[in-house]
Symmetry: C2
Subunit: 197 residues, 2 copies
């Protein structure tokens, strides 16, 4: 066991590679981050790198899965059962407003699919799965809020949320999150209006 640990770059090598990937893939982009930059940032040898990840794509996949294991702040808002469902739907915009660095580079899943450009089917599948899971949670929350068409409302909120991250990244403009929240609020109120009145 000790021998194996040593040959794999010591304790924590995998963890350090994952941390380097999380930082560099998100900030610099996936294509722009080569294995050399990753090994340097993680303080591991190239040999150690490939012992943990047979290909760079395997690391990209692990990088995206790590977001599934520890969901981003916006996703966690949907689990805040102390809030009424409508407020939970709007709370997904809070982290984008309070932490501009969270939107400057947009959504890591979306960015991965832009970079992979359909060339890496595993990545595209992972992103689709992730986006669908998030939308399913929005649908459940919209149903709880009493929306007559929870799926339709969830689809609209999801599009606005994606727009917030993408547009903020395009324009490097943190105000975009507040605009998105205002739009989502109008759409949610309009969807619930027939029941509220």
């Amino acid at each position: 066991m000790d021998t194996q640990t040593a040959s794999r770059g010591g304790r924590g090598a995998r963890e350090r590679i994952m941390q380097a990937a999380g930082r560099l893939f998100y900030r610099q982009g996936i294509h722009a981050t080569g294995v050399a930059a990753l090994t340097a940032a993680a303080h591991v040898s190239t040999r150690t790198f490939y012992q943990h990840f047979p290909t760079k794509n395997a690391l990209v996949e692990a990088y995206l899965r790590s977001y599934q294991d520890s969901p981003i702040a916006s996703e966690r808002q949907l689990a805040r059962d102390e809030l009424p469902p409508v407020e939970r739907l709007l709370a997904i915009f809070d982290p984008l407003e309070t932490d501009p660095s969270a939107v400057q580079r947009g959504c890591p899943f979306h960015n991965a699919v832009v970079e992979a450009a359909g060339d890496i089917p595993d990545i595209a599948r992972l992103v689709e799965q992730h986006k669908r899971a998030f939308r399913d949670r929005l649908t459940a929350t919209a149903a709880e809020a009493g929306a007559p068409d929870p799926d339709g409302l969830a689809r609209q909120v999801a599009v606005i949320f994606e727009g917030a991250a993408a547009y903020a990244a395009s324009c490097n403009d943190p105000r975009v999150a507040a605009d998105a929240r205002t739009a989502a609020e109008t759409v949610i109120q309009a969807a619930l209006a027939p029941r509220t009145r």
Copy 2:
């Protein structure tokens, strides 16, 4: 003149490189498209390529500028003076709905900024300029429609429009454009309501 034309790969070499860039950068991504792939697709030598574009980034810039010279279908909708302003604002979603291939890969400007990741300031500036110009036209159209806060309405429509392209690309789901249009319609009607009533 003839000699110079010949040394630059014959008539149309620049045009062929631009066409190859337009296709490959958009479909495969910018990082994934190397100079070798571009010269092969354009039927030019590497020497000819660099005579026209000193760096690959110069070609990326020319590629984005070509979209400014001939605006995409959604932008052209804003110039359709035969439509009432509210319909013009909604018509930007038409091309996304009728041509799924237009959204499958999202917005070329947004994608360029995702790939450039802040590393190519000229690209980031070009994208910001482009997004701002589009939003300014939305603001003018919103003002024409009688919106009490045309800038605020334009910002919301812009976020939803960006979401349509980005989310359709993330999920590979052409229905997203219709969801975005529905959301934009609600937001526009709500913004105009105080004056309509």
